[in-house]
């Protein structure tokens, strides 16, 4: 697997880890201008660390849903192009604003990802849709936002089994979520994010050709 431009493996305290170039955000280790992208704290980081074929090349336009305090989206903005970060809880957005401060093309949006019309007047069509909302109805959120993806774009999704149903078997939850996703996407790959994140599934998908907005 090739890493996107702007993501490199660096040595941190004798351990090799992914890194991007930018201002530190969450107390992560640094190596010169490079800062460690901790796969235990980032689902997308785990997808890359596990060697999933994300198709990321660097420089893409990105819509990121569930940005929280900006841990992952700050790394994305380090190697991608214009990056739109949607988060609906105000508390983490305070930290997201700090992460965005030294990043000129990271655009914070305090919006609800279930209501894409509320930011479609701001967000342009994107090459990559990243989603990590970890709430019930994760597949529906992705489906509702499918209209932002360019025809050759990619969805990089993290599914948290317990967000759908704490008691159900994760495998059954993943099955369900993937089936719903197939209404709008063609699944290209899916892989467990263990050992970095338990009961999480990483998904790479493209828009369905017969899909409409």
């Amino acid at each position: 697997m090739t890493l996107p431009n702007g993501v490199e493996r660096h040595d941190f305290d004798g351990e090799t880890g992914l890194a991007t170039r930018g201002e530190p955000v969450y107390g992560e280790a640094t190596d010169g201008a490079w800062r460690r992208w901790d796969p235990d704290r980032s689902k997308l980081g785990a997808m890359l660390a596990l060697g999933m074929e994300t198709g990321l090349a660097g420089g893409e336009t990105v819509l990121y849903l569930g940005a929280a305090a900006g841990t992952t989206v700050s790394h994305v903005a380090d190697f991608a192009g214009p990056t739109y970060a949607v988060e609906f809880a105000p508390r983490p957005v305070r930290d997201l604003l700090d992460a965005a401060d030294p990043r000129p093309t990271l655009f914070p949006l305090l919006k609800d990802a279930r209501e894409p019309e509320s930011y479609a007047h701001v967000v342009e069509p994107v090459d990559v849709l990243v989603q990590d909302v970890a709430t019930r109805g994760q597949a529906l959120v992705a489906n509702r936002n499918a209209g932002f993806l360019r025809p050759d774009g990619r969805l990089l999704l993290s599914i948290k089994a317990r967000s759908e149903d704490v008691t159900a078997d994760p495998a059954a939850v993943f099955e369900d979520v993937l089936t719903t996703l197939e209404e709008r996407y063609e699944i290209e790959a899916s892989e467990s994010l263990a050992p970095h994140h338990d009961d999480h599934l990483g998904v790479v998908a493209g828009p369905r050709r017969d899909g409409t907005f």
Partner: protein, 279 residues
């Protein structure tokens, strides 16, 4: 509306830009950077992104500041109003169904039937009245949905940890039953466990019933998804974590994502006692 946020905007009017970022909408995305340059709003795409960043950052700052003022009183009123709307919608829907039945053999029931009726063409004066009544049911049902959306949005602001563990609506119900976040934070977890089961609790205190194992927290997956024999333990474990979450929310406001993992672990241990799949 399918215009970009910059449509009709004076490039130097920062306040207006913030307002359209926050309140505007569009049916679908479009190549906004190019369109903004074409429209003369920005000199080139770099200039556009600079303006976009200034506007989105200012809009997010403003919204965060405003919402920090969100208080538990508003949440309490919202969740009580939602319950009232739902209950009233259901009661009125029954009335509508009863009336509908007297006029048509294939009358349905519930809010769904009211929705059908509301969309129908009345054929006589009585029909007009039923149809209008049905419309009230639909309005109330939609109001309940909007209140739920408001709760989904604001409960995580008022009580982030509690909302994360309990879900926004249950979190709001607990705050409402306790009479505020502060008094919820001050309640022992045994009380939180039976909040909403006051009737059963009083019956127990009078000696006429067993003590209730759970109140409103029964609606949580951790309790409902546990075998009845072990629901008492599950309710106790859940109430314990919810109480901690409410205290952190009230006293510090920090985010403690590990609470969820701790709860999941406890519930898993309790559910595995049945040896079954938790049903």
């Amino acid at each position: 509306m399918t215009d970009g946020w910059f449509a009709g905007l004076d490039p130097d009017d920062d306040e207006a830009a913030v307002a359209t970022i926050r309140e505007g909408s569009a049916d679908e995305p479009a190549e906004w950077p190019r369109l903004a340059v074409d429209a003369g709003f920005a000199d080139d795409t770099d200039d556009y992104y600079d303006r976009l960043r200034a506007a989105t950052t200012a809009a997010a700052e403003q919204a965060v500041q405003e919402r920090e003022g969100a208080d538990d009183r508003q949440l309490v009123h919202a969740v009580r109003s939602m319950a009232d709307c739902e209950r009233t919608a259901n009661e009125l829907a029954e009335r509508v169904a009863e009336w509908g039945e007297s006029r048509s053999a294939d009358a349905g029931s519930g809010v769904e039937y009211a929705r059908e009726l509301a969309a129908s063409e009345p054929s006589d004066p009585a029909g007009e009245r039923v149809q209008s009544l049905a419309q009230r049911v639909v309005d109330l049902d939609e109001e309940a949905d909007r209140l739920r959306a408001y709760i989904d949005r604001t409960a995580p602001e008022v009580a982030p940890n509690l909302a994360a563990l309990a879900g926004p609506v249950l979190a709001a119900r607990l705050v409402s039953l306790a009479g505020g976040l502060e008094s919820l934070a001050k309640k022992p977890s045994g009380t939180v466990q039976v909040l909403g089961a006051e009737d059963a609790l009083f019956a127990h205190l009078r000696g006429s019933a067993p003590s209730p194992k759970h109140g409103i927290i029964f609606t949580h997956e951790a309790v409902r998804g546990t075998h009845p024999d072990h629901r008492g333990s599950a309710a106790r474990a859940l109430a314990g974590k919810l109480t901690i979450a409410a205290r952190i929310d009230h006293y510090s406001g920090d985010l403690r994502p590990d609470l969820q993992a701790e709860l999941d672990e406890r519930i898993e241990a309790i559910q595995s006692r049945t040896g079954g799949d938790g049903e």
